[in-house]
Symmetry: C2
Subunit: 384 residues, 2 copies
């Protein structure tokens, strides 16, 4: 169960739904032992989020495979004692409550650090533990909106679009993981834990990429561009006969090769398209020319031709196509969990491939709420 660079690390996980559990699932994949401490009434809210297979949430399963579960009421004296016995042996505590919640429970950073100086405490929240919005609630769609990514996603003439996956939660979960593991590195020499405070909103700002440089340098407010790149052309999805094909011909040589592939050498010689800057200025005209040729054949015909010519290209795969892609399969990016009730469940694998550890194609079981209580009490309470 614990094979990976973090083998031997114990994580107590109070987090629910997505951002925190996504972080602690990475810690599981890296070999850590993660003990979910769930509220007794229903546990992690994600247990109630569909789709369900034989009554079990496939969504919850995909985020919590390989973790253990114990239900504890952190307001009840006996359960608090159990929780503290877990903390005494834990390396990391993760939670994604609203700011202030841990202090109200008596488990704020000051108290934790005084009592468990070796403990690393990661708080993942909507807005972080400081600043004027610290106590406000947040959800993925809230920080996608406030953090700017929605203003960059979609089409200029249309309504802004949400990134179709919960990038507000996921980015925060990833930064939290980086913070936790870095704090483990430091604890290796200092012996002391640290608080890691990661906000979903901050994490959105951190992934705005060239949009910040563009605005800061020019004062122009970047907007959505459909599928195209702000400064490289052609570098977008184009309509072919049956669907869209992505072409990433980022320099003059590749553009010339593309024009040959399309049997349109005239485009390579057209002064409107002579340089990348000109192609970007005349993007609409170039798109019109390219799509007039691309319309004659299907995406698969074009992909074959472009690949042979060395032009970076791609289909727009739907989820079914992604999961059956030979490369995705070869890289073990779809793993299985055998569940006694739900049978075989498939979920995303671990994208961090390490030479020092195997990358198994089956993963640990889905924890039932409070399902590991007896074993955990034996290990952490009775043995005490």
């Amino acid at each position: 169960m614990s094979n990976g660079p973090l083998a031997g690390i114990m994580v107590v996980d109070l987090s629910r739904v997505l951002a925190g559990p996504f972080c602690t699932m990475q810690l599981v994949d890296l070999g850590a032992r993660v003990i979910k401490v769930e509220q007794p009434q229903g546990g992690d809210d994600a247990r109630q989020i569909g789709p369900f297979v034989a009554g079990k949430s496939a969504y919850f399963s995909s985020l919590n495979r390989g973790k253990q579960s114990i239900a504890l009421d952190l307001k009840a004296e006996g359960d608090r004692e159990i929780f503290e016995k877990l903390l005494r042996r834990a390396d990391v505590l993760v939670e994604n409550f609203r700011a202030g919640a841990m202090e109200r429970l008596g488990f704020g950073w000051e108290d934790l650090h005084r009592r468990f100086p070796h403990l690393i405490y990661a708080a993942v929240s909507g807005f972080g533990h400081t600043g004027p919005y610290a106590s406000r609630p947040a959800y993925d769609i809230v920080v996608q909106g406030m953090g700017g990514i929605m203003s960059l996603t979609g089409y200029p003439e249309g309504t802004p679009a949400r990134v179709g996956t919960s990038i507000g939660d996921i980015a925060a979960g990833l930064f939290a993981t980086v913070g936790i593991v870095s704090a483990l590195v430091e604890r290796g020499h200092s012996g002391t834990g640290a608080k890691v405070d990661v906000a979903m909103l901050d994490s959105q700002v951190a992934i705005l990429e060239n949009a910040i440089a563009r605005y800061s340098a020019t004062g122009d407010v970047p907007g959505p561009l459909g599928t195209r790149h702000p400064s490289i052309t052609p570098f977008a999805a184009f309509a072919a006969k049956d669907a869209h094909v992505i072409i990433a011909a980022g320099n003059d040589t590749l553009f010339n090769t593309l024009c040959e592939c399309l049997e349109r050498p005239d485009l390579a010689g057209d002064p409107r398209f002579a340089t990348n800057d000109l192609r970007t200025q005349n993007e609409a005209a170039l798109r019109h020319e390219l799509e007039s040729v691309l319309a004659a054949q299907t995406v698969s015909v074009w992909l074959e031709r472009f690949e042979r010519a060395g032009i970076p290209c791609a289909p727009i795969n739907d989820v079914r196509q992604v999961l059956s892609d030979p490369q995705v399969r070869a890289r073990n990016m779809l793993v299985r969990v055998e569940d006694p009730q739900a049978g075989t469940l498939e979920m995303a694998g671990n994208p961090i491939k390490l030479s020092s550890h195997p990358d198994p194609d089956t993963r640990g079981p889905i924890p039932d709420l409070d399902g590991d209580r007896a074993a955990l009490l034996r290990e952490f309470v009775d043995a005490d």
Copy 2:
């Protein structure tokens, strides 16, 4: 310069453009020393990507602040010796060439590990170092298309949209950072380095989130949904008088509060909208009702009302609004670099806030190509 949990860690960075440099910029923010080894002709390609301020790429600057630079031709004997002297003292080597490039240079993992057993080697590539597509080129738009996120982003009736930031590169950079820091934790006891092989395509699969569970559990292929959530309603952007307002009323209580705020108690009692499931089934009808009320006032009026009522809500901020947001400012998510040529440059800060280290609002200088050659040769070659 080196304040953070990774202080004392030295990184040799061959990476260019985005995925690798984004990873090593996080390492800088965590206190590591990063030495960029650039090709003598022009260096990192991002130096040529606009916008420019006083001839300096603001884009390159935002990804490479606080790193050092030396230009080395890894095919020339003398430069290879310098490179090897750097590796002898390095903890981490990062590159984002295509698979096979390092082997052709004589610096493949087998050779590196034999000669520098303590070295952690992170390769960030389009498709990873194994599998049928290993040698293919990839760019952000290619893996956004192949990895499924584009099929989930945009509107059902429209053309798929690219996520408006290079999430194909950024996700890979983040997973690479997690892998590197985890390998550092393990090296703390084992003394041995590891290879970290991160693919942009794998990283896209890893962030598909509920789309995989939905498809695996039901066989239904998820598509784009505009701004709305697949199973929670209302949880989307809605048109108000002047722009869109995000409302995240995820349960019956919040929905009832929303109906009161909108002075439409009839909607709370409408059998079509009695439960979250029914609201999701009747999303179009509910949207029509809500927008007919929302149209009467501006976003700012609605936000004030919703906030007072405790309904999670947000504007869709553009980049200018994000960067002047009081919370973003209070969290130090916009930092400055003073550059001798370009003056003050603003860029995203570090979302990982650690109790153990300060979070300065100014960051290290922008490296000129080969600008640290003399100092690096003195430190690593002459002293040898």
